[in-house]
Symmetry: C2
Subunit: 640 residues, 2 copies
C-alpha cells in the first residue's frame, strides 16, 4: 500500500482503558457469544451445512445471510489477535470448516444460490449481494489470517476472489448493488501481495456509474435471480427493486451509480453503500496516487459533514431507502442514522486520514465512535439500535436482533478492532489519534518504542504518555487536538510546548528516550447550534462535552422534555456518577419552563401573558440513553 | 321543540354581505353544480336507477354513496329557500324521483343493499351506514319540504323512518356505527309533529354505550353484511373493522360506544361521529329538559375546546381513525382536523346555544366558520381539503373530489344554510350571533321587525343595525361580543350603551321603533400562545385578527418559514388588498431570522456565535392559503 500513514497492527496495541474496557469486555463475553447463538438459531450455519451436502431449497434468512457468519468470524478474529481464547479459536475453526465445505469446486461460494438458484449466479448484481457477501468473506479471511497466521479461510477467500476475477470484466460486466468487495479486495491484495485483486477492486470502483447493467436488470427482472412470479411481490427481486426505483424509474442513486464518482457532487443514496464505496475508492486513490480522486472524495466528505450529518455523527437521515436525502434535511424524531453507516464512515475516515494525515478525519472518527456507533448497542451488549433517533417520545427501544442483522456484527467487529484507530505511523513519527489508555509498540525509523498512555476520556481531558524508546531516536509524535477543544496545553517532562491548536495536531519532534508527555485538553460544556437551514434544529441547542453529545432523558427530568429551554450562557455542573449507567458524567443546569400556574382552562391565550419559571435539568451522554427502559429523549433542546 | 331560543328560518334572513356573498355565489353557481356532475359521474344516481329497475350487483362507489345525493339535495334545497331557480328545482325533483323509485314497498331504502346484499339488511350496523344514509335522507327531505312545501321527498323519508321505527327496538336492538339519524329524526319530528320520531332518536342516543351489539358484529363478522371471504381484506366489513379495532380488540370508542354518554369524560373517537352524536344528544336534552345531560355535554365541550382543538377550531387531530386522541395532542403538520368535523361541531354548538343562550357556543361557531370550515374549499369552489393541516412544507394541496366525498357536500349545505346561524329569537327578544350584512325579519312577541345589518366582517369591527318594528315594541336585542374582542362600544341612535363585555352579550332592552344600533368591536392583532402541554406549539405563537386565524405562506415570504421568529410585541401593519386572494387583509411585520452571513461551511457551532437579523413577514388569513398553488404554510410561528 502506498498510504502515507499506516495504522498499527492490532497485536501492537494493548488497550487498558476504563471506558473502553467495559465495551470490549461486553463485546467479547456477551455480544460475540450472543451473535454466535444467532448464527445457529437463524439457520445461517445450517445454510452452509446444507449447501455442502448438496441439498436444495429451504435457504434460511435473508439472501445475504452468509455475511453474518463472515462478520462474526472477522470480529472473533480481532479478539483472537490480542486474547488467548482456545474455545473461541476452535469455534471459529469449526465455522470456517463449514464455510470451506460449502465452496464449489470453481471457487464460487454463496449458500442462497447453492440452495435456491444455482443456475442464476451473477444475474442479479443489484440485489442479491453475491459480491457483498464475497467482500465480507474476504475481510473475515484477512482478519483471521492476520490474527492466527492460519490460511484456512484465506484460501477459501482467494479461491473465490480468483473466481470473481475470472468472471468479471470477461463473462460479466457490472458492479455490485451493495459495495463492500472493493475495500475487501484491497486488503486481500495487501496480505497476498497480489496486484490482480487491486485491479479487480479498481475495476469495480471505476465502472460504477459508467455502465447500464444495473438498469438493465430492472428492465429484465423476469430473467434474473430472485424473481418469483408466484409471489405477489415478485419475490426477492421484486421487493428489492422497490427501494431502487423512484417513481417507478431507476436512476441509480440508491447505489451511487447515478453518475461516475468524479461527477457526483453530493453524498447520495443508501448511506452504508456510500461509505463502503468511498472507503474502497480512497484505497484506490491511495494506491494509484490519484490526487484528483482524493480531492473529489474530500469534496463529498465536506458535503456530508457540512450538510448531511447529525451532530452525533449519524448519517443517512431517511428510513425509506436508508439513505441520504437533501442538504440540511436532518429530522430528529425520524432520524435513521443507521449504526452501520456510522461504522462505514469510520472505515472511510480512517483511510482518508491515512492518505492525508489530516486531523479532521480522526476528529470525525472520534465523534462517531463515542456517539453514532456506541449508541447502537445497549450497555449490556445484547440489544441494538439499527436506526438512531435524536428525539423520542418514549417509543423507541433497542431490540435483541433484526431480520436484517447487519448492525450488531458491525459493532462487534469495530469494537474488537478498536486498536487500529488509535495510532498511526509514518516515515518520521507517530500519530496519536485517539486518547485511550493502554500501550502501543510502534516501530519508527527502525526503532521500537513503547508508549504507555494514561487517559480518562471521554470524562476528563488529561492525557499522559510515557515514551520509552529502545534506543534514543529522533522522531515526531503528533497529538491530535480534538475539534471540540478550545484550550490545550502540552508539556514534555514538565517543559511546556508551544501549541498551535488550529493545525489539528501538536507535533513534538525531538530525540525520544524515556520521556513523559502531559497534555491537557480542556473539556468545556459546549452549547451548540445548527446551521439555520436545518429546520429540525431551528431555535434549539445541543449539549456537548469533550467528544460526547448529551441528551435529556425523561427518566431524569420532571417536565415533558419539550418544555425545557436553555440559555446558551447556562453554567452546567459537571458531575461524575460512578453508579449511573455504568459510570457517566452528567451535566446539570437550570432551564426555563413555562409556568402552568396561571392557565385556567384555556387552550390559547395572548402570548403577552406568558409566565416562565425555572427547573433543574440533567443531561446524560447520548450513547447511554435507553438503558433504563424506553423513555422520552431529546438531543436538541429549545433555546431560550 | 322546547329549546329556549329558535333559529330563524332561512327565508326570513337575506344575506347581502361582501365577504359571504363570494362564498355563497361560488357555492350556488359552481360547487353545487359541480357536485351534481359528480353524482352522475360517480354512479351515485345510477345506483338509484338500477335499484329501482330491480337490477343486482355493480353498486358504484362507497357503500354509503347514497348520502352524497341526499346531502346535495339538502344543500340545493337551502338555496331554493331563498333563490328562485327553476332549473335547480327541476333537477332536484328529478333526483327525488330517482330516489323515490328506488324505495322498497316496506319503506326501506339503500342502494348498496338493494343491489348487493338485499337479504342482509340491518346485520352490519357498525359499518354499512344504513342508518347514516337514512339520516341524510331525512335531513334532505326536511330541508326540501321547508324550502318548497313539497312533500315528495318527505313522504319517502317518513316511510323509511316508519320502517326503521318498526324494526328497531323490536326485530333489531342496536345503534348506528356512524351517528346522524338521531339529529335527523329530531328534525323530522318537528316538521311532522310526530313524537314517535323523537322517541326513536332518543332510543338511539340512549342505547349507545349500553349494549354489546357492535362488539357482537365484530365477533361474528362472517354473518354480517359486507363480509367477503374471497377478498383478501375480507371485503367492506373486514376493511372497516380495521378502524374500529385497537390492537385487535374492540372497545367502542371510535363510535363513542365505549361507555354510556353520561360516563364519558372526554371527547373520543371519530370526530364527525362524535359531533353528530352530541348534536343529537343536545336535541334530546332540550326536548326532555334534561339539565344533567346538558351539563354533561358541556363538560365534553370543555374537554374539546380546552384540550383537543386547534386554534382554527379544527378537531380530531389524528389521520388514523379520523379521530380525537389525547389531551393536548395537536400536531400541526399531520393535523387531520377534518372539514366535516368542524361542520359537525357547528351543528352541535348551534344546538348548545339554542338551549343555553351562552355566547361561547356562538363564538366557537364563528371561529369554525371563518377558519376550520372555510379552509376546506378553494376560493373558486371546485377544490377541497378533507384534512386541514396547520403547517405544510408545500406538499398539501386541495383536491377536486374524494372517493369518500363527505366534506364537499357538507360545506355546500352549510354555506347554503348560513342564514340559520346569524340570529335567534326567544320569548323576550333577539340574539345577533354573527355579524353578516343583510336583513332579517324576526317575529318577536307577535311583532315583526326588520333588521338591516351592515358589517364588514371579518375585516373591520364596525357594525350598524337598523331596527324597524312594525309597531313600537319592548324587547331585547342581544349583540354577541366576540371572545377575541377586548374593547367594544355600542350606541343606540348615537347614545352610548353601558357594556359588560364579560357577559358574552350586550343586551339592549327598550321599546324599538325605528332605531339604529352602532357597535364597534376592536379588531386588534392578537399574538396567541398555546397551553404549554401542546408540544407542537411550544415556543411558538399564532396570529389572529378578529375572527380570522392567520398563517405565513411561502409565496409571500422570502425565507423558509421555520426561520422566522416573532416578538409578541411586534406591531403589525394591517392592510386591505382588494386584488389579493379575492380581497383580504394582510398582516405585515418584522420578524427575526438567523443571519447566514457568518456561517462558513459549518453545520454545528457554538450557540454563542448566533447572529440574528430582521426580515419582513406577511401573513394571510388561514382560510385563504393554498389558493396560489401548493407552497409552504405555517400557522404557529416561532416566538422570539
Amino acid at each position: 500500500m502506498c498510504e502515507q500513514r499506516e495504522p498499527m497492527a492490532i497485536e501492537s496495541v494493548q488497550i487498558a482503558d476504563d471506558f473502553w474496557r467495559h465495551w470490549r469486555e461486553v463485546n467479547r463475553e456477551k455480544t460475540i457469544e450472543y451473535q454466535y447463538q444467532q448464527l445457529q438459531e437463524s439457520g445461517t450455519l445450517e445454510n452452509f451445512r446444507r449447501a455442502s451436502a448438496g441439498e436444495k431449497g429451504g435457504h434460511n434468512g435473508m439472501w445475504f445471510q452468509d455475511s453474518d457468519a463472515y462478520k462474526w468470524i472477522e470480529a472473533a478474529s480481532y479478539v483472537l489477535a490480542n486474547h488467548h481464547d482456545p474455545e473461541l479459536d476452535r469455534r471459529v475453526d469449526n465455522v470456517i470448516d463449514l464455510i470451506a465445505a460449502a465452496q464449489s469446486a470453481d471457487g464460487y461460494l454463496n449458500t442462497y444460490f447453492a440452495l435456491e438458484e444455482p443456475e442464476k449466479r451473477w444475474t442479479n448484481l443489484n440485489m442479491l449481494h453475491e459480491l457483498y457477501c464475497a467482500g465480507h468473506l474476504i475481510e473475515a479471511a484477512v482478519a483471521h489470517y492476520r490474527a492466527t497466521g492460519t490460511e484456512t479461510l484465506l484460501d477459501v477467500a482467494i479461491d473465490f476472489a480468483d473466481h470473481i476475477d475470472r468472471i468479471f470484466g470477461d463473462e460479466v460486466e457490472g458492479v455490485p448493488g451493495h459495495q463492500e468487495i472493493e475495500l475487501a479486495l484491497m486488503k486481500l491484495a495487501e496480505v497476498t501481495d497480489e496486484p490482480r485483486y487491486r485491479d479487480l477492486a479498481r475495476y469495480f470502483v471505476d465502472l460504477r456509474g459508467h455502465d447500464d447493467r444495473l438498469a438493465w436488470e430492472f428492465e429484465n427482472i423476469e430473467q434474473i435471480a430472485g424473481y418469483d412470479p408466484e409471489d405477489s411481490d415478485d419475490g426477492i427481486a421484486g421487493q428489492a427493486a422497490g427501494v431502487f426505483l423512484e417513481d417507478g424509474s431507476y436512476n441509480g442513486s440508491y447505489a451511487q451509480a447515478h453518475a461516475p464518482l468524479r461527477e457526483q457532487e453530493a453524498v447520495e443514496g443508501h448511506s452504508v453503500r456510500a461509505m463502503y464505496y468511498f472507503a474502497g475508492a480512497t484505497d484506490i486513490a491511495a494506491e494509484t496516487g490519484d490526487d484528483d480522486l482524493l480531492q473529489h472524495l474530500d469534496l463529498l466528505w465536506r458535503n456530508m459533514t457540512e450538510k448531511r450529518m447529525y451532530v452525533t455523527g449519524g448519517i443517512g437521515s431517511q428510513h425509506a431507502g436508508e439513505r441520504f436525502t437533501t442538504d440540511y434535511d436532518l429530522p430528529n424524531e425520524t432520524a435513521y442514522a443507521e449504526t452501520c453507516a456510522a461504522i462505514g464512515s469510520i472505515f472511510w475516515n480512517q483511510r482518508l486520514f491515512e492518505e492525508t494525515g489530516e486531523a479532521k478525519y480522526a476528529d470525525l472518527i472520534e465523534r462517531q465512535l463515542y456517539n453514532a456507533m456506541l449508541v447502537g448497542m445497549s450497555l449490556d451488549g445484547t440489544e441494538f439500535f439499527y436506526d438512531n433517533v435524536l428525539e423520542s417520545d418514549g417509543d423507541h427501544d433497542r431490540e435483541g436482533w433484526f431480520e436484517c442483522a447487519c448492525c450488531p456484527p458491525n459493532i462487534a467487529r469495530l469494537l474488537a478492532s478498536l486498536e487500529q484507530y488509535l495510532y498511526a505511523v509514518d516515515d518520521d513519527g507517530l500519530y496519536v489519534n485517539q486518547y485511550v489508555s493502554g500501550t502501543a509498540r510502534p516501530t519508527i525509523d527502525g526503532t521500537t518504542a513503547t508508549l504507555t498512555q494514561t487517559a480518562d476520556f471521554p470524562w476528563e481531558g488529561t492525557v499522559e504518555i510515557d515514551v520509552e524508546a529502545m534506543e534514543a531516536t529522533d522522531f515526531a509524535i503528533r497529538l491530535r487536538v480534538p475539534e471540540w477543544c478550545t484550550e490545550v496545553t502540552v508539556s514534555v517532562n514538565g517543559n511546556p510546548i508551544a501549541v498551535d491548536a488550529e493545525a489539528g495536531y501538536v507535533t513534538i519532534e525531538r530525540i525520544w528516550d524515556d520521556d513523559r508527555i502531559t497534555a491537557e485538553f480542556e473539556m468545556d460544556v459546549q452549547v451548540l447550534e445548527a446551521h439555520p437551514n436545518v429546520e429540525a434544529d431551528i431555535g434549539r441547542v445541543a449539549l456537548q462535552r469533550g467528544p460526547l453529545v448529551y441528551c435529556l432523558e425523561g427518566v431524569d427530568n420532571e417536565r415533558p422534555l419539550y418544555q425545557y429551554a436553555i440559555d446558551p450562557e447556562t453554567d452546567f455542573e459537571v458531575t461524575h456518577h460512578e453508579e449511573l449507567l455504568d459510570g457517566v458524567v452528567t451535566l446539570e443546569g437550570t432551564a426555563t419552563v413555562p409556568s402552568k400556574d396561571d392557565w385556567d382552562g384555556e387552550l390559547y391565550r395572548s402570548a403577552d401573558e406568558t409566565d416562565e419559571t425555572t427547573a433543574p435539568i440533567t443531561a446524560v451522554p447520548y450513547y447511554a440513553w435507553n438503558n433504563r427502559g424506553p423513555n422520552p429523549m431529546r438531543v436538541w433542546i429549545r433555546e431560550r
